[in-house]
């Protein structure tokens, strides 16, 4: 039993499950909350009445499915000296799509390795070719999905409570509380984001969760600012005044009257922020401070392109695959986000046809 818990592979699987579980739990929680509210249900119907929203949501769901498959880790056993031992773990995705490992670069659908690399016959066919280490590019691109979704999703999950809590407190109470919170987020904002991220990553060490926390710290300020502004507006509204006149205390006003009425802004901001976060990961990996090597991320693949594109013949497949996936995910997220904003943002109401 003790051996099981000290098993590094087990720890690995638990962490990989936990990261995705947090995101999925938050998604489910949000969906249930929206569905339980008739107004929310109506808005949801309105969002999905557009074909763009349906298609982009489908794409996002498909990506989520890939990410889930890539999160469930199963042990791989090997019998050595008559003893069954766990040698490594493999995700469900890797079990389903199991391309052979080659020695080095090969072009898409090629039968031999790239010229100049001692033309060796390949063990299998690779739709998108292989990279310098002989890894299948398609598998890597698919593995990047999980990283991207977690980067966007987990960070948003960290950002939302922070942004709401501090934004609402600053906006509602004003005065000293507001001064303090505004001071904190102005300070964070005044440091160039990338520098702050580098510092935080150096402090916490590399890793997917660490990266999400670091990006959470740099992005909550944006949400906080928006929520604070909306709260300033809401607290002057008659229904908040009326609630106060009926004896409601600050806590219940925040809980019942302010927070539910800033949720639409939080949703819009979170969904539109998502794609920005995914892009940041690519940039950070390019700078070498993103996720650990071997996690499989589009950023790392693009980073690799620096060398690949200088080769002769040009190795374009890796960077193209990563770029295309990134493009599809961000396009889908933005199309969906725009639709959500169109439906939820009262300032756009009436401008729609």
């Amino acid at each position: 039993m003790k051996a099981l818990f000290s098993n590094p592979f087990l720890l690995d699987s638990v962490r990989s499950m936990a990261e995705v579980a947090v995101v999925v739990a938050a998604l489910l929680f949000g969906t249930v909350r929206v569905l339980r509210h008739p107004v929310g249900r109506g808005r949801l119907k309105q969002i999905f009445s557009s074909r763009g929203a349906r298609v982009s949501f489908g794409v996002l769901l498909f990506f989520l499915l890939i990410a889930l498959l890539d999160s469930i880790r199963l042990p791989v056993y090997e019998i050595r000296a008559g003893e069954r031992r766990i040698v490594k773990t493999e995700t469900l995705l890797e079990k389903l799509y199991h391309p052979a490992r080659e020695e080095t670069l090969s072009a898409p659908l090629a039968t031999v390795t790239l010229e100049g690399y001692r033309s060796r016959p390949l063990k299998g066919r690779h739709i998108l070719g292989t990279d310098l280490n002989g890894n299948d590019v398609l598998l890597q691109a698919l593995k990047g999905v999980r990283t991207a979704l977690i980067i966007g999703g987990l960070t948003v999950v960290i950002v939302i409570p922070l942004g709401i809590l501090f934004g609402v407190l600053a906006g509602y109470f004003g005065g000293r509380v507001d001064d303090l919170i505004t001071y904190v987020f102005s300070t964070i904002e005044s440091v160039p984001e990338i520098l702050l991220l580098i510092c935080l990553m150096k402090l916490m060490g590399q890793g997917l969760t660490q990266l999400c926390i670091a990006m959470g710290i740099t992005t909550w300020v944006g949400l906080c600012r928006v929520v604070r502004g909306e709260t300033l507006k809401l607290r002057e509204l008659p229904f908040v005044q009326a609630a106060r006149a009926l004896g409601a205390g600050a806590f219940s006003i925040l809980r019942r009257h302010i927070i539910p009425n800033v949720m639409h802004i939080v949703l819009i901001t979170a969904i539109l922020r998502f794609s920005g976060l995914v892009l940041s990961e690519a940039i950070l990996s390019y700078l070498g401070i993103g996720v650990e090597p071997g996690t499989g991320s589009w950023g790392a693949m693009i980073d690799q392109a620096r060398n690949d594109l200088a080769r002769d013949p040009v190795v374009w497949w890796s960077v193209t695959a990563a770029g295309t996936m990134l493009f599809i995910l961000i396009l889908a997220a933005n199309v969906f986000g725009d639709r959500v904003r169109d439906v939820l943002d009262p300032r756009l109401q009436g401008r729609r046809v």
Partner: protein, 340 residues
Amino acid sequence: MSRIDPPGAESTRGLAIENLRVVFDTNEGPAVGADGVTLEVRPGEAVALVGESGCGKTVTGLSILRLLPRPPARIEAGRILFEGDDLLKFSSREMRRLRGGKIAMIFQEPSVSLNPVLTIGFQLKETLALHTGLRGAVAEKRAAELLEEVRIPEPRKRLRSYPHELSGGMQQRVMIALALAGEPELLVADEPTTALDVTIQAEILSLLDDLRARRGMGLLLITHDLSIVARRTSRLYVMYAARIVESGPTEDVLASPRHPYTKALLAAAPSRRRRARGLEVIAGTVPPANRYPSGCRFHPRCPRAHERCSHELPVWEKTGERGTACFYPEPLSEERSVEE
């Protein structure tokens, strides 16, 4: 309560505002929201507070519940006595218990006075839990009773409605039901019908009147419309530029106004009798609250202003039930009939 009422002091019961002065610190200097306001609402009595837009009616109403935004508002002087206690000395916790409890307030715009994302039932039950401790099925039953009391048809069904599913009149009824949840002894109604159609206006006003009579609750009806206060209120205060300029039994004041402002307001009010002649509009405009003129604040617009009015503030003069702040008031009707 161990407090002993001083002999014959009616004023220890109900609400009595004494010499209230509220100042707003604005960028354009201090603006006076209420200045020396003195008024009284006895238990079970309906009292009207009337005046043009910006004269300080809402400021007065909000200061009773200490709901003015601070900053910019500052209560500089005065006392607000409710059942003998000075509300200005209450702790914020005592104040919270009072709001929606013994004193409730409703506002002008029912459509935005209810939380759009919560059901009527939820909002009612929340308020009931706060002030009566009722919860669950008992609270649900009480909530339906309250809706019935404000004459909302199918109360059980309405509990599950959202505010936007109701008409303006119905929304205001819900607001009234919310205000009644804590069994208030005083209801401050700030222009409760201004946003509503004329027919619905009358229904809401008679509902308020019935509730007041049935529950023995005091009612302070704040309005800019003199035509709605007759027969519905027993006494009337007229406010101009943050000051009370005239008070007295409603019928008497309407029949024979003493202050030139009341007279002008009455001439401008649309009543059946006067409609045919067309409305007279009061000449000039209300001065801004940070630049009130010296002397009697009405003097620049007053047809009867004398030299003295422009630099001396008229003192409050009380004649029996009636009072006015004017150097040259219209004589009381009895006096006039003697003179004539």
